[in-house]
Point group: C2
Chain length 641, copies 2
Amino acid sequence: MKQKPLAPFRFAVPPPSAVSLADPVLAPRVEANRAATIPACLEFCEKTHRLDAFDLKWKKGDKWFPHIFWDSDVAKVAEGMARELARRPDPALAAKLDSLARRIVAAQQPDGYLNTHFTLVEPEKRFSNLHDWHELYCAGHLIEAAVAHAEATGGSFFLDAARRYADLIARTFGRKPGQKRGYPGHEEIELALCRLAWATDEKKYLDLAAYFVNERGREPNYFVKKEGWQSWRLRYLQAHEPPREQREAVGHAVRWAYLCCGMADVADRTGDAGLLEACRAMWENCTQRRMLVTGGIGTSVDATEAIEGDWKLPNLTAYAESCASIGLALFSRRMHEITGEGRYVDVVERALYNGIPSGISLSGDRFFYQNPLAAGPDSIHDRERQSWFSCSCCPTNFARFWPQAAQLCWAWRPDEVRLCIPAASEFELESGMKIVVSGRYPYDGAIKIRFEGAFRTARFPGMLGVTKPSKIPPRPFALSLRIPDWCGRFSLAVNGKRLAAKPEDGFVSVRRAWKPGDEVALDLAMPVRVLRAHANVGADAGRLALQRGPLVYALESVDNGPGLHRLSIPAKQDFKLVRAKGLPRGTLAIAGEALETTRPGAALYSTAAPRTRRRRFVAIPYALWQNRGPAEMQVWTREAP
Amino acid sequence: MKQKPLAPFRFAVPPPSAVSLADPVLAPRVEANRAATIPACLEFCEKTHRLDAFDLKWKKGDKWFPHIFWDSDVAKVAEGMARELARRPDPALAAKLDSLARRIVAAQQPDGYLNTHFTLVEPEKRFSNLHDWHELYCAGHLIEAAVAHAEATGGSFFLDAARRYADLIARTFGRKPGQKRGYPGHEEIELALCRLAWATDEKKYLDLAAYFVNERGREPNYFVKKEGWQSWRLRYLQAHEPPREQREAVGHAVRWAYLCCGMADVADRTGDAGLLEACRAMWENCTQRRMLVTGGIGTSVDATEAIEGDWKLPNLTAYAESCASIGLALFSRRMHEITGEGRYVDVVERALYNGIPSGISLSGDRFFYQNPLAAGPDSIHDRERQSWFSCSCCPTNFARFWPQAAQLCWAWRPDEVRLCIPAASEFELESGMKIVVSGRYPYDGAIKIRFEGAFRTARFPGMLGVTKPSKIPPRPFALSLRIPDWCGRFSLAVNGKRLAAKPEDGFVSVRRAWKPGDEVALDLAMPVRVLRAHANVGADAGRLALQRGPLVYALESVDNGPGLHRLSIPAKQDFKLVRAKGLPRGTLAIAGEALETTRPGAALYSTAAPRTRRRRFVAIPYALWQNRGPAEMQVWTREAP
């Protein structure tokens, strides 16, 4: 992939209050997050003593015990609350967030340290086991929460606490005499420090992020020399070589994705082309050789939660942690912001509509930790979503992810507004103009974009995490519409007049002096697509998957009865769109003809010839499986002759 | 399955010295065991300090540490040496065995206790953690070794030591006041005590075996109440209910198989029809719902080494421990001895020619611990055999298994001799007559059985582990030939005269006054059979496996190139038998036509139509894979239309 110059390709995501959703798929998820996920996470954080830990009253012998990763769960809920509050005012939520943030900050030590486990349980072990103990990972999430809190409330007490903690970390780690030359075993703080740098305009936090990225994996290896970690396990932590030299997506998938986010942020802010090239190469490797069709990554069944080699994409045993898909989306979004290339949004979209939402029930309060592509009696992962986990990173990650959904649909720079994902939504520009997208995407490819006059003046206060724009969008400016990778045919019309436009880097652009009343019609052809995997993917050999628009479909036993493995589907047929029973109104299922093959007889193995009969099948969007009770599920079905 | 009366169906296995092999498959394995496996196991036991442990000189701080299961490895090598010695005299081996046995016995404590870990490391924890610590399992293997030693050498010092240890165990465990009401977490001692009872004619050891079998799983549960084990984990140890009430094959596969051996032994010796019925039911469940086509059991990828539910028969991730197949064969052999039903031998044969030998290289010194049915870049198990394991039960199990191979081929009672597995072999009867089987089984179904006059008088000294026969085989007596489950058509001729015989319970019998010079010709039709799995087996849906005679075949990349998943095989074709390259002379491969399907293009997922071309495939016996270097392998191949 040829590298393009950085500068002209920088895009910003809109501030949370400037965008909103009105589509049939994402908007209900965002609402369920507000109404169910955040309250449920808060409740479990309370029940499990995760909140109590911050009161620092724990004593040896107590029935509960502040675990090394607990702080991160609380921080992610706080971040989710702040992001939700930033979307729209909610005094009750604001009060809850304020009290939570104060409870967190109260646990800060005089020197700035803020970690309940190491304050309460093992104070003497502070920063002594970076490879395994999640200390800097927790710090990263605290910083992210504090930045989101400041953005949402304008208050600074949480952000100030985060700065004091970051200052302590900056004093502790680095290349100066007396400093530890360590870095986190579970990445996250790198991207958090970049956010902190942009929120505070303090370069030192960016420098610390860059230090963590650049020191990582250098020889002599810190984890091996200072902490006795085995060399062969460094790949699991992406610490086997400096990240800028890495070209493969390897190791614990969430760590890898968070590292890549931090690398992209540092590369972008420091103009580090070498680092960006590593990001590109790893993203390529991940998405072209190691990613499930749902945007799930980290498929390994033996190396926990990890990405392993090329083409290792099992279905039944795929791990595909919910957090890893979220991480991949956040990384891919950054790569679009930096490069402007639509293919990064293709992956954001794949995860956003498939591998991410599969991890959470429509009700918002039940979760999958793993997201395999098949489930049945042979399953090794949960077959029903759970309300909480002892290691509960996924639920709290949803809490902070969904409020960002509308922001993922748009990008902008002073002379261009980009509709990345054409879900029904609004984007209120600083100029006062509002761009309103309507339609039933992702179920329908007919998209209307209307320019409306606005009554309030929207402002771009400088979205944290992106460059502060120096100008408001001028007239004329370009409206760019993404043509997804799955779309083979589209048409575009402006005010009723058809335009012949050729996508460039995945977008078609129309530049003009847009005025209220202008209307753009984008029609993305959305046939049922029959996908096959690369010839090297063993698990999917002889199998097909159905995708329509951005949605990957799956057979579920609720519609088809048990024994999905007996079905095969002919690729050449007229698939029908039908109403999906028991799922939200408007959900489209795919129906068609399948063959059901059964070997008669009770013998476990026999030479009896299989019998085949024709029957109907129904497939629903993968993300929606197990919303109608326990079920078998299958994404890749055998292709019938 | 209707239960038949016990008495008329009791068969004995011949003594080791009365039988020998001359076939192309088993005989070389037995020889490799003598020449390579036993020496290699001894060497590793020495290298890893397993032998040193018996000298009781270990001290805290030493670099090595006597592990809780080490004694069992040493005992199994000793048993293997004794069984090998019992087959034929070998003064050098006898001397080595004598010295090894004396070294073991020297570690016995004054009260009879004999376990290096608990003598050296944690003497205060003796018999305190039965569910996890393998103490009684090690005792069982010591007893088995001692009995085999006595059988082979006629000497009693090792057997006496085993009796003293068994006496201590009998004093410790039981239902009397002051005794522990425990039983082993890893079964093995039950079957060993039965062997000890038969070797010593002491009923008390049979009583202790019966106690262990009958006390197991009773309420209040010993492991839960006395050792704090979790109730939900009892199934893993077959301790969730009394074995006689169990009807499913569940939990750790080796433990299950060893328990069943002990149950069958106790049932047989005590006439306990209820216990035998449980054996039958569990065997049914195991072999008709939970057994790989190779005779592998314990397929679970998440519950370590365990059998889980019905139809859970994955290929790539199948665990199928070598020891578990050995255990299943030993259990099935007992069931034939008790019931006389040929279907039990069908399973012995399936394991003997497939799932067992796959665990060991032809050279005899490399081992698989797991025996999956597919291997490739996606593998989660070893793809190359190893010379040893830290938990090295499998290599040492081979050492004691192979010397029994010839005994597995035959069974007898005073009025009948049974050829269970028609490998080329000899059975020298007590009468002085010798039955000589010739042919190239399992590669050829043409089998000649010749009665010859013998020059020495063979004796049946009362094979340990079987009833002592009271009579020598009289004239006339029946010669019974097994007609395997895989054989649809056979012919039988005696002295050139064709006989129309109908198999009963899997055997055809010819009763007459056999005399030297008589010749029987058995012809088992041996076409290539195309197998499909039961319609409930998800992993094998749309797939076929090839079997010829008792041999299950597999594709290996050595013959077919990499990417075996791209191949599919039409079931209806004329398969050819060809010489297998790089494998022992006489090994027959199956060749035929396959389709190779490749989806063109570099994209991970695309709508590009797959391309198919016709090509040749070659399949070799599954047991022989990875004897020609690292390779991909596949037993179940997609069935082409």
